[in-house]
Amino acid sequence: MAVAASEQEILEGLADIIDEIVGVNKDEVTPEKNFIDDLDIDSLSMVEIAVAAQDKFGVEIPDDELRNLKTVKDVINFVQNLQA
């Protein structure tokens, strides 16, 4: 991505990915949501989402970082930090 995305753009991009991969309605993807507890996303689906997010936002998400990304906000912060 040539221009760093805003928080809102990352949220919307992530919501698209989650909708596509696990079928969670986009409106339900809000920053405070926990992937496992709130969105019912299992670990293999998380790997798929991370791969799609890497492609979409042009960042690398190493496996040990992925384990720390518990909420939607965690992913937004991670992507913004790498893009900054």
């Binding site: 596509e20 991969i21 696990v22 079928g23 293999l44 790997v47 798929e48 791969v51």
Partner: protein
């Protein structure tokens, strides 16, 4: 025709086949003698000796949500579709009652600890295996789906069906090539008889119509090459048969102890009376030419079911339309039942219409066999125009044949590469 064992009854049916997206449409096409074999218009098969197959009549991707499809091989998607149909047909609530799921639902509820699942595939997720390797080569390992292993493993369908309905008594998947899902039915009968389950979802699935598979069977010279008239290519017992036709599909039966079925007032299609097995111990692909292995499986099925040769009115033959196999099976029928009882048999070969579903064949043909008894009518063998000189039994051709009234029984034969012989016996309830 009596047995001291627990009676196992058939209470639900489902099928997704080249002839229809569900069991009723499949059955009416069978009675009409229709063919499910189609020309393939794929670009990469121009050089193949065979360019047709019995592909599904419906697109499974229109029957499941796309997020679910991402995690299912085609063989698993159709297993789930046919299992759902059979489950509904049996009158059950959407899911077994389990530890997590106690709310009341429409339909009869099974105890999840008493519900088993046995869904077989001969090959498993071939499409997934091959397309995942393409992804690996083009995009690297990290783009290979994390669901690749569960999608390609041949027990994946059993796992998915078990999860969907909450089956916790046991989840199994026999793998014995083209006998796989007949063995699944046999194993399901045993689970109920042994008291390990009250209800078992059993069946089989296969979806491996792929250029590699067609090249592999083609190089064995096992497939018909009648490219100019595909719908006439599968022709068991006909003088001009030249090999089998690759098919895809899934079929499911709900088996239940008679006591459990009667207590809930379930409709009973028939009795899954027993199963017989043998190993040829002869060759990895050729059947024992004496037919003695196949005859042993049939005799053992009758013994297991408490049936005499005279009780058997009908046989759904394995009969794939290969030059040698079809008539060898007729010979082994005579060995198994004796010449006199064999002469009275009404034999049909439904692969003439469905193609050969490989690991799904035994389940689909079990469904056809039990419904033939239930409805009292046997579908014809299509394309049987000029019977082989060695055909000396009564093969149904042209029109469907009515079965006599009364307490009849039937056998469904399935034989697989590796020398796996399975015969399942059914009788009227």
């Amino acid at each position: 025709m009596s047995t001291s064992q627990t009676n196992v009854v058939v209470t639900g049916l489902g099928a997704t086949t080249p002839l229809g997206g569900d069991w009723p449409s499949t059955w009416s096409a069978l009675l009409a003698g229709k063919s499910g074999v189609r020309r393939l218009d794929w670009e990469d098969i121009e050089d193949l000796p065979v360019r047709f197959a019995a592909t599904l009549a419906v697109d499974p991707s229109e029957m499941l949500p796309k997020q679910q499809l991402r995690r299912l091989d085609r063989s698993q998607a159709i297993a789930l579709i046919s299992a759902r149909e059979a489950w509904r047909d049996a009158g059950f609530a959407p899911r077994a009652r389990s530890r997590k799921d106690d709310e009341p639902a429409e339909g009869d509820v099974v105890d999840g600890d008493r519900l088993g699942v046995v869904v077989s595939s001969g090959i498993g997720g071939l499409h997934t295996a091959l397309s995942s390797y393409d992804v690996y080569k083009e995009k690297g390992w990290s783009r290979v789906s994390p669901f690749t292993v569960p999608m390609l493993m041949p027990n994946g369908s059993s796992g998915h069906v078990g999860i969907e309905f909450g089956a916790m008594a046991g989840s199994h998947a026999m793998v014995s090539a083209c006998a796989s899902s007949a063995e699944a039915v046999g194993y399901a009968i045993d689970m109920i008889r042994a008291g390990r389950a009250d209800v078992v979802i059993c069946g089989g699935t296969e979806a491996c119509i792929h250029p590699l598979q067609m090249a592999s069977f083609g190089s064995m010279r096992a497939l018909s090459t009648r490219n100019e008239e595909p719908e006439r290519a599968s022709r068991p017992y006909d003088k001009n048969r030249d090999g089998f036709v690759l098919g895809e599909g899934s079929a499911t039966m709900i088996l239940e102890s008679e006591e459990h079925a009667r207590a809930r007032g379930a409709r009973i299609y028939g009795i899954a009376a027993g199963c017989g097995y043998s190993g040829d111990a002869h060759d990895i692909v050729q059947p024992d030419p004496t037919g003695s292995g196949q005859a042993k499986a049939m005799r053992r099925a009758m013994l297991d079911a408490g049936l005499e040769p005279a009780d058997i009115a009908h046989v759904n033959a394995h009969a794939t339309s290969t030059p040698l196999g079809d008539v060898a099976e007729l010979a082994s029928l005579k060995v198994a039942l004796g010449t006199e009882a064999a002469a009275g048999l009404i034999v049909t070969a439904t692969k003439s219409m469905t193609g050969h579903l490989l690991g799904g064949a035994g389940a689909l043909e079990s469904v056809i066999t039990v419904v033939s008894l239930y409805e009292g009518v046997v579908p014809p063998t299509a394309n049987l125009e000029d019977p082989d000189d060695e055909v000396d039994l009564d093969i149904v051709r042209g029109e469907p044949r009515k079965l006599p009234d009364g307490p009849l029984a039937a056998l469904n034969n399935s034989f697989g590469f590796g020398g796996h012989n399975v015969s399942v016996a059914f009788r009227r309830a």
